[in-house]
């Protein structure tokens, strides 16, 4: 290994380490798209903890973002299906509170799925 090689190696290493520091563990830029009554009301980045109260015909539905995932925290509907959908994490995942007309969908950098069947 020559001096020139060594310099290149050190620079390359430094670049790689910097990339890890800057970009790793970012949740790949995912956001939670929240709609109320069919209109988009918020886009919440998943890497920042947040709580959002969304008004609907039945009352307030609360959506929570934590640790790279989003979920329905509370909702005035009777069946609570939205709550039971649990944490949504992957791109394309979604859940909705139909009675209160609130839905949440997770986007991803390449939208791994164009549509989800369930």
């Amino acid at each position: 290994m020559s001096l020139a090689d060594g310099v290149i190696l050190v620079l390359g290493l430094a670049l790689t380490v910097a990339a890890w520091a800057a970009f790793a563990g970012r949740g790949a830029g995912q956001t939670a798209v929240v709609t109320a009554g069919g209109e988009v009301v918020a886009r919440l980045p998943l890497d920042r903890p947040a709580r959002l109260a969304v008004p609907g015909p039945l009352g307030e539905t609360v959506v929570e973002v934590r640790d790279g995932a989003v979920r329905f925290l509370s909702s005035p509907c009777t069946r609570q299906i939205c709550i039971h959908s649990g944490w949504l994490r992957e791109g394309g995942a979604f859940a909705a509170c139909l009675p209160n007309r609130v839905s949440v969908r997770v986007t991803a950098l390449d939208e791994r799925y164009d549509s989800i069947n369930f």
Binding site: S2, A4, D5
Partner: protein, 170 residues
């Protein structure tokens, strides 16, 4: 050595034959690599780059450039991915790494090790640039960069060491 009939008919020079045989080798390695499973799709050992390095050290940058570009072109034609997004990613990577090689080859004392690392990192940078500008214009793309750069560092160095050995400088 008597010129063969094909030489006089087609006008193939010795340089053309060097390029052809090295390019063929690079394509074969490229195809073999494409069969390998990869933990992250898109990250390959880049062994074909070692052939380009070898061409650079033995025959100069121009030959290396032909070998590198022909590898991308012929490889994609054979794999059926010509003009697909993957083809453009490969091309961007190849052009970037060749440009880097042109610059770095001037450094006094540099061997295939340094060249290999520099070329591999430039190859990754080229691919990400094409991907960002054309296919995934989303900052989230760069979440993949650290892993790709690490692989480039490792495989670039390994390829460089192998070529050094072959050229008797290891």
């Amino acid at each position: 050595m008597t010129a063969s009939i094909s030489e006089s008919l087609v006008g193939a020079s010795a340089r053309d034959r060097q390029i052809a045989s090295l390019a063929a080798l690079a394509v074969v390695v490229h195809l073999a690599e494409s069969v390998l499973p990869s933990p992250i799709p898109g990250i390959k050992p880049g062994l074909a780059n070692a052939v380009v390095l070898y061409a650079l050290l033995r025959h100069g940058w121009e030959v290396a450039a032909w070998v590198g570009l022909l590898r991308v072109l012929v490889g994609s034609l054979l794999l059926g991915s010509f003009l697909s997004p993957g083809f453009f990613l490969s091309l961007g990577g190849a052009l970037a790494s060749l440009a880097m090689l042109a610059l770095v080859a001037r450094l006094p004392g540099v061997t295939a090790l340094g060249l290999g690392v520099a070329a591999a990192l430039a190859h990754t940078a080229g691919q990400f640039t094409v991907a960002y500008l054309w296919f995934i214009p989303h900052p989230g793309l760069f979440a993949l960069l650290p892993a790709f750069l690490t692989a480039a560092l490792v495989f670039g160095a390994a390829g460089g060491l192998v070529v050094n050995r072959l050229c008797g400088r290891g």
